[in-house]
């Protein structure tokens, strides 16, 4: 089931070998060496905040996270911040499929209070080409209009092609939306969900949505054919997002990402390093990140071992919420933390 780094599509450099070896656990004990190789000065910290509902002051929670994670206002001041929520498809009465609009609002407010010159929201919904409908029915459209936050539909954005930095697939290059180039900070804002093809969908899987539909089809079908897990690794290695805030206030369990059922975890999880954020989020869901193939292989992009992630805010144990996994779904079978 695991993605063997030896199956990457070209010869490795020494640095890549070290990264790949991490995924295999070969150097799992020499954490300092690995940290130095990857250059993650703060990347191994994640912050968990208990957040009872969406009505509270989410911006303040995120600002508290910034402080704990040592995000300096100087890093944000004058910068353009792109927030990438998870907007798949909307349905009245359906479960929490999309990132809650008030989490997007809270994140925008936090970055603006830290001095960002511009915050924009961008997404290329995977299942529904009617993005205006997705915005309206998810409730995000009203929030963005009220707050005068611009939105970019990445599905139709002009593309630019750059080398695939991951090479987990045979794709030599990826075509990304031009809007990414305008952003100094790219922030993944996913919903905490189980997923019927990938096991769990968190901040790394969320980046599927940056891939323009005009180049990759709907529902980003081309990437499915290249292998969802390998594509997750390639996209993250190439886009190199800067921060993640996971909406786990009410997530989705079971047959996610669309047909599952709501599961309240009451948390926001955030950090600079997406594999670390996702590993922490998975543990909160009582999922073992080492058993999620793309997370187990994400060693080159960040740590997922618990002892290598410095935990800020609440402990994982205090917020652990067992998200239901479906035995009839192979991608979810056997993922439970033992």
């Amino acid at each position: 089931m695991g993605l063997d780094p030896r199956n990457r599509k070209r010869a490795w450099t020494r640095r890549e070998f070290l990264r790949g070896a991490m995924a295999g656990g070969v150097l799992a004990s020499s954490g300092m060496l690995l940290q130095a190789c990857r250059g993650w000065p703060w990347g191994t910290e994640t912050f968990i905040a208990k957040t009872a509902g969406y009505e509270g002051d989410i911006a303040s929670v995120i600002l508290a996270g910034f402080r704990e994670l040592r995000v300096d206002p100087a890093e944000i001041r004058g910068k353009t911040v792109l927030l990438k929520p998870n907007l798949v498809e909307p349905h009245y009465g359906a479960g929490p499929i999309n990132t809650h609009p008030l989490v997007v609002r809270g994140a925008a407010e936090a970055f603006l209070r830290f001095g960002a010159s511009c915050v924009l929201v961008a997404e290329g919904p995977g299942h529904n080409r009617d993005t205006q409908l997705v915005l309206e029915e998810s409730g995000l459209g009203e929030v963005l209009i009220e707050d005068r936050i611009p939105f970019v539909d990445l599905n139709y954005d002009e593309g630019y092609t750059i080398p695939n930095a991951g090479r987990w697939t045979d794709l030599a290059a990826l075509t990304l939306p031009a809007t990414l180039r305008r952003a100094d900070w790219i922030v993944s804002l996913p919903k905490m969900k189980t997923h019927h093809w990938a096991g769990v969908t968190l901040s790394m899987k969320n980046l599927f949505g940056v891939m323009p539909g005009i180049y990759y089809g709907w529902p980003k079908n081309f990437l499915h054919w290249k292998g969802i897990e390998r594509c997750i690794l390639d996209i993250n290695a190439t886009v190199r997002p800067h921060f993640a805030i996971v909406d786990g206030i009410v997530g989705m369990e079971g047959d996610g990402p669309i047909m599952g059922t709501p599961r309240k975890a009451g948390v926001l999880v955030m950090g600079r390093n997406l594999p670390a954020v996702d590993a922490t989020s998975a543990r909160i869901m009582e999922v073992d990140p080492h058993k999620v193939a793309y997370l187990a292989a994400a060693g080159g992009q960040g740590p997922i071992s618990e002892f290598r992630i410095r935990q800020r805010g609440e402990s994982i144990a205090s917020v652990r919420t067992d998200f239901a996994l479906m035995e009839n779904i192979p991608a979810q079978r056997g993922l439970r933390l033992s």
């Binding site: 498809e89 349905h91 529904n128 459209g141 139709y156 002009e158 079908n221 081309f222 054919w225």
Partner: protein, 317 residues
Amino acid sequence: MTDGTRVRAEYLRLVRPQRLMFSSSLESLRQRAQRDGGFANLAGGEYRADATAWAILALSTAGVAKDLIGRARASLANRQQGDGRVCISVDHPETYWPTPLAVLAWQGSPAYREPLSRAVRFLLATAGTHWARKADSAITHDTSIRGWPWIADTHSMVEPTSLSLLALRVTGQGGHERAREAVRMLMDRRLPKGGWNYGNTSVYGQELYPQVENTGLALTALAGDVPPEEVRSSLNYLDASIQSLRTPLSLGWGIMGLGAWGRRPVRARDWIMESFKRQEKYGPYDTMLLSLLVLAFHARPGPTGVFGKMEGRTDGP
């Protein structure tokens, strides 16, 4: 108030604003014309084949800007690849999903018979990736029935298959075995409760949700090709959904889908105007959305709707 005064007041209240909004939308389209004849998807953007085809369809349906239409058709032909495909970008030959749109845009223009024929031949020779479904598959649709994909070497999906079927029908290829197979594919991808989504009916035993735009497009493509009773639940779903829906993509295809089956809503034109008006809130629509609303506004009832009107069209080069 005399009858004449009443008519004039009614005109000023209803018809004039509609005309103004309509003409300003067409003007927005004109402004996206590029020097080489193509169209951008938004003002100031780069050439896009899909936007160019949509603009041609909208302007020719509205009967305006014949000079722009001729140049736009030429620009599409200039960028057509040797095998007939029309792509989002010449650097991405796998993105051939605008090909059926180009066929619709060239249809009716004698000067473009040759590129049109090549594009049709490309469609007839091309299919998505298909295979015999295994018994333990997570999905339930018949994966062996061929249609057309968004991107080369991927599975066929509802929208590109519907557009390709429309393109074949308006070029007189509706009886071709690929068109017949596309009808079977679309009917197989219909959700049991009615409607279509992007192309999956159920996964791991759960029926997925329908979507208005896919349903409208599939019904537009299928009109007259299957018995009405086989799509009644889909028509009912569409009819119920668009009563409150004003987003241009869903509304446009929704109106055309219903219209193709003789169920065009009486207030369709009012709804289209409401949708145009939403640009005050959301900003300018892209070329596809503006064009789709123009087409839906003019669409006549019956199979192939506004596209059928183009079958005998000879509006210049």
